[in-house]
Amino acid sequence: MSNPSSNKYLIFLGCAIPYRVSSYEISSRKILAKLGVELVEMPEFNCCGLPLDPVSHETMLILAARNLALAEQQGLNILTLCPGCAGTLKKVNKILKEDKALKEKINTHLKEAGMEFKGTIETKHLLQLLKEDVGYDKIKASVTNPLTNLKVAEHNGCHILRPKEYIGFDDPEDPQTLKALIEATGATCLDYIDETECCGAPSVGVSDKVALQLAKDKLNHIKQVDAQALITICPFCHIMYDTNELRIEKMFNETYGIPILHYPQLLGLAMGIKPEELAFNELRVNPSKIINQVTQGAK
């Protein structure tokens, strides 16, 4: 089996990021360039498949396998920024490699478009790449402006942790990777109640009330520990909190004022990248308070 190089990745953007969360893509590309991770653009891709799994598992399998086959043609491993895409591509890769009959069935579909799934590449999410390929030491070494006085909270989200069987690089009940990556910037990562709980985003549109209550309780727990910002690594979690924080404040008569940062934005600040280059202007909840604190500290 081929063993594609580990500091060169095909970047799989998925749909949500180009659709609504370019701040995540911009900041991720900035920090990866600084860390020497080479990104190759996919010549073409499609939806990872996850959004259609609820209505047709078969459709999900075909869409995911088509993406894997496209990456195999390039002979490179996939890097995703979205945990949903990562989870789906990892899971389908594993299922098809283990289940020969299913693999054959899916390949008859791919054959219609002259394609084939072989199972020769792997997928990693940004978080896993930073932990395993770049490593905490190299990340610490890249920090020129340690965020020593900053206290933040993390939200991993579901698909980066569960199901453990398919994701498996962190402990779903007590995840440590994102915490360690935050601490590597010099910031303090605070513990709070129900850290590993779902943000509620998948239930938006089915029951907004249920979804917003979930997000509200999370924000309350984060507020209780006086976190200055919430750090996410998923486009959907980010949309859920950043877009809805003001709405939740109005609806439940609360005040938070907690900016929601993508982890690469936090790391970028610690690397001394200018805030203008990290797309902070695209955030809905105003982050200027902490940016001022961080950039003044640098002087």
Partner: protein, 191 residues
């Protein structure tokens, strides 16, 4: 002696009639990828007690849905609006002591509900977007153009023709490509 309070999911529901039980349903489920282990569920309730959606919803209870399926209440399970509330967070899957893969079982229920003509609008929109562009959302041209000024490489153009070829023969996709009016609609309840 006090009478047991009705559980939230059965509250207000009609009493079960023997005629609505489909004893073969559980065996059907055992053959479907994802719900193979449904008979291993011993109703401990871990899934429901740890489910973030059950905490905020008066009616969504994964354990009850699994129990109903085991009993053969096929129609009630597949027509349940609450089925669509699951956030697919996989907490239940990871914590079920019987390894039932609860979230996958819920997904199988949804897939079967769709085969029976029940599909929320949001999924119809996403199917249409995938068939039209390869992506799950219709990404506005403005966004695609803006990438250049943001210093981002161009977004690869999807290949919907190739995607459609690979999806040929998938029942759901063949169905949605039929003229409108042939599929039923379900409006999930707002609660």
């Amino acid at each position: 002696m006090t009478e047991a309070a009705p559980t939230p999911t059965t509250k207000g529901q009609e009493p079960i009639k023997a005629s609505e039980l489909d004893p073969k349903f559980k065996y059907e489920l055992q053959k479907i990828h994802g719900s193979e282990k449904i008979l291993k569920c011993f109703q401990c309730g871990t899934c429901t007690s740890d489910c973030p959606i059950a905490r905020y919803s008066d009616s969504y209870r994964p354990r009850t849905l699994i129990h109903m399926a085991q009993l053969g209440l096929k129609d009630r399970v597949l027509k349940s609006d609450t089925l669509w509330l699951c956030a697919a967070c996989f907490t239940c899957t990871d914590r079920c002591p019987q390894d039932v893969e609860v979230a996958s079982v819920i997904r199988v229920f949804r897939n079967l509900a769709v085969e029976n003509g029940c599909m929320p609008q949001v999924f119809k929109d996403q199917i249409a977007a995938v068939l039209d562009s390869g992506y799950a959302y219709k990404i506005p041209d403005l966004r695609i153009k803006k990438r250049e000024s943001q210093g981002l490489p161009p977004l690869p153009k999807g290949n919907p023709e190739s995607v459609k070829k690979t999806l040929k023969g998938v029942k759901l996709i063949d169905n949605v490509q039929k003229p409108a009016g042939e599929t039923l609609n379900v409006q999930p309840q707002q609660q």
